[in-house]
Amino acid sequence: MNETTYILEYHGITKGFPGVQALDDVSFKIETGTVHALVGENGAGKSTLMKVTGGAYIPEGGEVVYKGEKVSFLQPADALQKGIRTVYQELNLVEKLKVHENMFLGSEEHVVLRDKEESVKARAILTDYGLEKIDPRRQVGRLSIGERQLLEIAKSAWANPDLLIMDEPSSSLSSSEIEILFNLIKRLRKEGKTIIYISHKLTEVLEISDNITVLRDGKHVITAPNKEFTEETLITHMVNRKMGKQYPERVSNVGEVVLEVENLTRAGKFKDCSFTLHRGEILGFSGLMGAGRTELMRAVFGLDPYDSGTIRLRGKRVNHISPSKAKDLGMGFVSEDRRLDGLVLCRSTKENTVLPNLLSYSKRLFGVINRKQENEAVDAQKEALNIKYANKDHKVKYLSGGNQQKVILSKWLLMEPEILIMDEPTRGIDVGAKKEIYDIIHELSLEDLGVLLISSENDELLGLCDRIIVMHDGSIEKEFAREEANADDLLLAAFGRFKS
């Protein structure tokens, strides 16, 4: 084929929500058989456009032309039937069911299910896609977020769509998992499939895509071949202004010890983990998915039990720690999964923001909430973190993914903690906002906040932390001071192969 054909054309797509124009006259085309990346700030309208494509939303204006045919007002089922598959930003697996049951959900071949047969088939498919590490008989709820994400992608790819849409597939993947994903994408492209790829990780976007479209504030900015962009020009298109350096110039402000963890052990999760955190210190935790970082932090915060070891706060031993006690002692926890334990999706942005801090806004008789204080606090956070939403009384689930993440951050920052545990705090957040968050973390550390930062992006750890601890297989493998740390060593240590 020499002549370019377009599998998908958007003509003047418009879609608004109460108070927000999510898409404003968006027009561009997607070439058949390419990987087409879609980038833009949080709330730019990327997910909304994909939901329009997949038939989940009906646009108010404009039309979608698919394979040369007008398909405006598709229904989700029509989209599936016409070969459009979407892996949404929010995962849609049934946690209680096993991997293979999820894979074939809705396409079971027999009325009486043949468990064995299904799981064998699932294993074959998973292996084919490079996912042999996922056991088809496991419950999905027991998989890591990254594994779940890959499973969902494999499930969609297996349905053999002509157009596969992936909304931030890599935000919860480790670097090795991203490699699996990229191999899968390259293979699909070779088979002539078209892929729409949404991501905030611009290096990835530049690596994998053929063409790139930038959206800003619901409007189409530019669509051009990959080679016409650099990371800088992409950012300029996205935010329409110059951006300073990604990471703040780190000024160390390490004070006295505030948290000591000694020989903390939980069978099967982590063992003999000891570390200390100082006031004003940013302590990073690197490692592969499943290295036990999240589990360790959950235990420190009292969310999960531990078998042995001690936790000392400001020199005092803490027994029977629970989240409410941890909070009272000045700890906050930004968790890694927005939907699981980060937000109450069916409640408003306001309620979510003040949830851990209600005590400060209800000091009057019997806990009557002072609405004025509360509203002011929420507005101040909106301003400080540049969170985009139309109305703080609307449900938080209507916020774009990145803005939801900012709400989680703001609810803990509002508490003014002394120790803040952050598990992948910048997941799904755009480059501009990331920088804002890095600046905030940095500034708070100058005001003596101690930060425990888990991240799967080593860049982030290297740019921000005073010290980096690498975990491998449930144990602390190695600790690096800021000066001696580099990306290669972090990776080696994460695989347990660092030799000094």
Partner: protein, 328 residues
């Protein structure tokens, strides 16, 4: 960054019409129903009949406030009717048989109810037995105790205070209606304006997020079950005053009316959503329905069928409606 553009005025009007329908659907239903009965029967539309409806409704509506909390936190309480029965029986036994001061008797009855609620709540929160099961068991136990205490017979209860509570009037309005009003206003205030209310929503919306946010979720659950049990106690006291006796099988089947009122009022079975005002409308709707059907002399069995359909219809419409608003 850019401020978000605001939709045109027309859009907003359209949007508000949608939400109005969703929010006020049951309210509109209530008004239509009242219109219908007013046309069908000339006995329906009169102040005395309205007061009558309010008084009849008050006994279950009080409990429905508690049920709103319970359903918001993803729970259910099937023991409410039985607690009403036991409360009435205890009230009569304390006052008639033991000659206790009526005020003290009422306080004791509410304390016993609270203990029952505490047991249920603690079992749900700490031992994590599904509330459906534990309250089903509690229903049997409590009802059984009421029968054992009275050997199955009603206990006579004649006392001025109890009389005032159950059948008295103040400024021409029945006393139970005042009690109901106080509980709705206080209960609504608590849910919408106080810390505990927020915690109830958070626990119901996502218990893991609530726990991680440092809320003592178990405590919230226990308090909610204590509250509903105390409301049952109040309702039982009123009912025994009205009947002038403590009857062991009083309150039988209340759970159905109470749950129906709550669901009609828009409280979501998925948890995390619901309002006390909605529940009031739901309770009134149930009350108007049975009053109107009675006035029209509809056969009680047919009434059951009609009521069932109304609940079905209301839930059906609300599910359709909320699904639409998701997709907007």
């Amino acid at each position: 960054m850019k401020s978000i553009s605001v939709n045109s005025k027309k859009d907003r009007q359209l949007e508000s019409l949608g939400t109005v329908l969703q929010k006020w659907g049951v309210f509109i239903g209530l008004i239509l129903l009242m219109l219908f009965f007013s046309i069908k029967s000339r006995h329906f539309f009169s102040i005395p009949n309205f007061l009558n409806i309010a008084r009849q409704t008050s006994i279950t509506a009080i409990i429905a406030v508690g049920m709103t909390y319970v359903i918001i936190i993803n729970g259910i309480d099937l023991s409410v009717g039985a607690i009403v029965g036991l409360a009435g029986v205890l009230c009569a036994v304390f006052i008639t048989n033991l000659g206790m001061n009526p005020l003290l008797a009422i306080v004791l009855v509410l304390a016993v109810s609270a203990v029952i609620g505490l047991i249920i709540g603690a079992t749900v929160a700490y031992i994590k037995i599904p509330p459906f099961i534990i309250t089903l068991a509690m229903q049997q136990i409590v009802r059984g105790v009421a029968f054992v205490i009275t050997s199955g017979y009603p206990v006579y209860l004649k006392n001025p205070l109890m009389n005032t509570i159950g059948r008295g009037f103040f400024l021409g309005i029945p006393t139970p209606v005042y009690i109901m009003a106080v509980i709705f206003i206080a209960g609504g205030f608590m849910l919408h304006r106080m810390r505990l209310g927020r915690y109830i929503y958070a626990v119901g919306g996502n218990i893991q997020t609530a726990r991680l946010s440092g809320i003592k979720v178990e405590r919230v659950i226990v308090i909610v079950y204590i509250l509903i049990a105390v409301f049952c106690g109040i309702s039982g006291v009123i009912l025994s005053g009205r009947l002038s006796s403590g009857t062991p099988n009083a309150g039988t089947g209340f759970e159905m009316d109470v749950i129906a009122a709550t669901i009609l009022g828009g409280t979501s079975f998925a948890g995390g959503e619901g309002t006390v005002f909605g529940t009031l409308i739901g309770a009134l709707l149930m009350g108007v329905l049975s009053n109107g059907l009675n006035i029209m002399n509809v056969d009680p069995y047919i009434q059951m069928i009609i009521k069932g359909f109304v609940i079905f219809l209301a839930v059906f419409l609300s599910v359709i409606n909320s699904r639409k608003s998701e997709e907007k």
